[in-house]
């Protein structure tokens, strides 16, 4: 960093070798993939070992076979969940990077994105264009619209509710953020209920196709069950990866990215170097908000029905993911999201199988997932990537 700073921004931009370009843009992505594979292998290994160990305990079904049968589907679920948390966590971590402030309204920015998509699809449906529209075009238009609305909203929130409090004690903007979060929830509730969209808003899409069947897992001699990934989940993963590549490019290669990193590192000095700190912070909110909005659109598309409180839990979990990965660290946020998503999916799907149906996995997933998370944080207080990578944004 220090070396680059002395050579001057323009020079670095033009002289950057192809190799360093690739490593800056795709390096973090590689790390994310390693964590995806690592999480799948480690957790998959653990459940198989557990199944072997507990095999005698259940006589009614073959525990090992049951475990292996659903394993591929659980890994896919974990990946989708992980990318959801990862895309939201990016917004938390970028804002924390530049302001050392936790933007608790980010979950609601995500929710507003989802509602933008619902309004968009309702408008299309009303004009009769929804069924005839090319699905790819629909996804692109919806994502861009959601990004624009959520990004601008995040920027306005910063201007109205956070910037005036920048000199105040750290607790003050935090409370302001919680206030913004509640206001956004109820304003959206008011809008949704009074515009005919309804509290449980439906997110309609053109026909996106049948689930993609990847394999057939045998469960008995004559029967098999499909391992499938539904087209909406596939879209989610693809768009999320594209966004991560774009973000890495923006932060690591462009001049704006350099300015963001400079502000993150040392705000007063950055402003002495001629960087317009307020502008950079506003743009950080814009980028984080746009990512959250895109995640909201994709989420809404996938689950089909949303309500004004839909942002709260994913927001909280994504914040956890950001801390787990090492808050302030972009790659860390993605990795934290992936790890948390996998933990939840595994616990939720296997808990009831291993406890003979005593404990419902879906209801108690958080206990186990968050206990593991506490353990990880006890041993690595700065998060998974907190020490490995020092670069902050």
């Amino acid at each position: 960093m220090a070396v680059e700073a002395t050579t001057g921004a323009e020079l670095v931009l033009t002289r950057r070798s192809f190799r360093s370009f690739m490593s800056d843009v795709f390096g973090p992505l590689l790390q994310v993939f390693l964590f995806v594979i690592g999480s799948a292998v480690v957790l998959g290994g653990i459940v198989i070992l557990l199944a072997v160990a507990l095999r005698g305990a259940r006589t009614d079904i073959d525990l090992l076979q049951g475990t292996i049968t659903i394993l591929p589907q659980v890994i896919i679920d974990g990946m989708v969940r992980g990318f959801l948390y990862a895309t939201i966590a990016l917004g938390y971590t970028m804002v924390y990077g530049v302001l050392e402030f936790i933007n608790f309204a980010h979950g609601e920015i995500f929710m507003v994105g989802a509602f933008t998509g619902a309004f968009f699809s309702a408008a299309l449906a009303a004009s009769g264009m929804l069924t005839t529209l090319n699905p790819v075009l629909f996804v692109i238009a919806a994502v861009l619209l959601g990004m624009a609305v959520s990004g601008l909203l995040a920027m306005s929130v910063e201007r109205v509710a956070y910037r005036p409090l920048r000199g105040a004690p750290r607790l003050v903007p935090l409370i302001s953020a919680i206030g913004v979060s509640l206001v956004l929830q109820d304003v959206m509730r008011m809008i949704a209920v009074n515009t005919g969209l309804g509290f449980n808003a439906q997110f309609r899409t053109p026909d996106l196709g049948q689930p993609l069947v990847l394999a057939q897992m045998p469960i008995s001699d004559e029967r098999t069950i499909p391992v499938s990934i539904d087209s909406r989940s596939l879209i989610f993963i693809v768009v999320a990866i594209l966004m991560l590549i774009g973000l890495n490019y923006l932060v690591n290669i462009t001049k704006l990215g350099k300015a963001i990193r400079a502000v993150a590192q040392d705000r007063p000095t950055a402003s002495l170097m001629g960087i317009d700190v307020n502008r950079v912070i506003a743009l950080t909110f814009l980028i984080g908000g746009a990512l959250g909005g895109a995640a909201g659109i994709l989420f809404g598309m996938r689950v089909g029905t949303i309500n004004p409180y839909v942002g709260f839990l994913p927001g909280l979990k994504a914040f956890t993911a950001a801390v787990l990965g090492g808050i302030g660290n972009i790659t860390g946020a993605m990795v934290g999201g992936i790890v948390l998503g996998f933990l939840e999916a595994f616990v939720a799907s296997y808990l009831s199988l291993f406890t003979r149906g005593q404990f419902s996995g879906a209801s108690y997933a958080d206990i186990v997932a968050f206990s593991i998370l506490i353990l990880i944080l006890v041993f690595r207080p700065s998060g998974l990537l907190g020490e490995v990578v020092t670069q902050k944004v």
Binding site: I70, G198, N200, R302, G304, Y309, G361
Partner: protein, 424 residues
Amino acid sequence: MMKRVSAFLIFALLGALLAACGAPAAPTPTVAPTTPPTEATAAPAPTTPPPAGGMTGVIKIATQSPLSGPQAALGVGIRNGAELGLEQLGKILTDMGFTVELAPFDDQAKPEVGSANAKNIISDNDILCLVGHLNSGVALASLPDYQAASLVMVSPANTNPKITESGYPNAFRIVGRDDVQGAVGEEFARTELKINSVYIIHDKTDYGQGVAEFFRQNAEKNGIQVLGFEGTEEQSVFDSILTPIQAANPDLIYFGGIYNQAAPLFKQARDRGITAAFLGPDGLDSPDLLKVAGDAVKGMYYTSVAAPVSQFPDAAKFAEDYQAKYNEAAPPFSAQAYDAMGICLQAIAKAAETANGKPTRAQVLEAMKTLGAYKGITGTYEFNAKGDPVKATYFVLQVSTEAGDPAEVWNKNAVVKRLEIAAP
């Protein structure tokens, strides 16, 4: 400096406002604006002068149901049904010389809100009867307060057995019970759908888990294999619930809960290629189920204690009036709310006659116990000692497969079975 002063002023003002609002009770009551008193002036001028005695004053009848939030579609229907009931049947009291008013409360489908509202309701001595709730869990949280004040609760929708089995002398309902409803559903699944295995999911509320438990008990007793029994509060992403279901491959998925959760669950199950049949209790009885889940629920069956309004010949006029007044088709339970209101009015009138003046709540409760049969638009109701209707009607319905506006299509749902079963 000026800035600081004005900011301080704003906070001081806000503080004063908050203090003013919070003065009477700790939790802010969520009262919807009271509708203006319903006058009987539309009817010909009163021919009989108000009789002597204290037959004057205001009598209020409260409603509690979710008017906002995910279950508002049904909750607003209950409020509206009761409002219409008061308008059309309130004459019995206004002719005596009383003024009648509706006091609608929003319980948000949350037990803690219902209980806070209940404290508010009993502090208003003009409220002599209550129509509500939608959710059994909320009713059970509010009943101790009603009991303390001897306030009669007539429920148009609560089906959990505990409502009338917990010894509340003031709890009445005009619908059936979940122990019977669970059994009706199980029998239908076994004999008509001919299923061998079931996966049961519930929403962890008194209502949803209750009816799911009854379904499970009967299924186990009758040899249906129960592959899973899970509770969840999840509202949108059901992946981790659906994966084990997919592996278990049941013939039927039974969901004990309310439509707002059921709709995305069923939709996502079909999106995943799960082919099991769906079945659920009366909580699914809302056009919103069809609106959100679309094709996934077309043709599915559900049991109910309240058939669509179109199933009751006597309710035809009610359906028309409702459509005219609120500009939407009467949702499930609204006609029952109309009848619950009618029962409240009848009991108050009877108590007023006995007391020869404005009755107390205890007198209304006494009158309620000796009310006899009441003929409403959805049936004739007579209560047993517990507060259950002596005979309740249970239905098995099938969601219509027609295309069109869900609110209208829902009223075309066909009754597949109709059973009159005495309260256990």
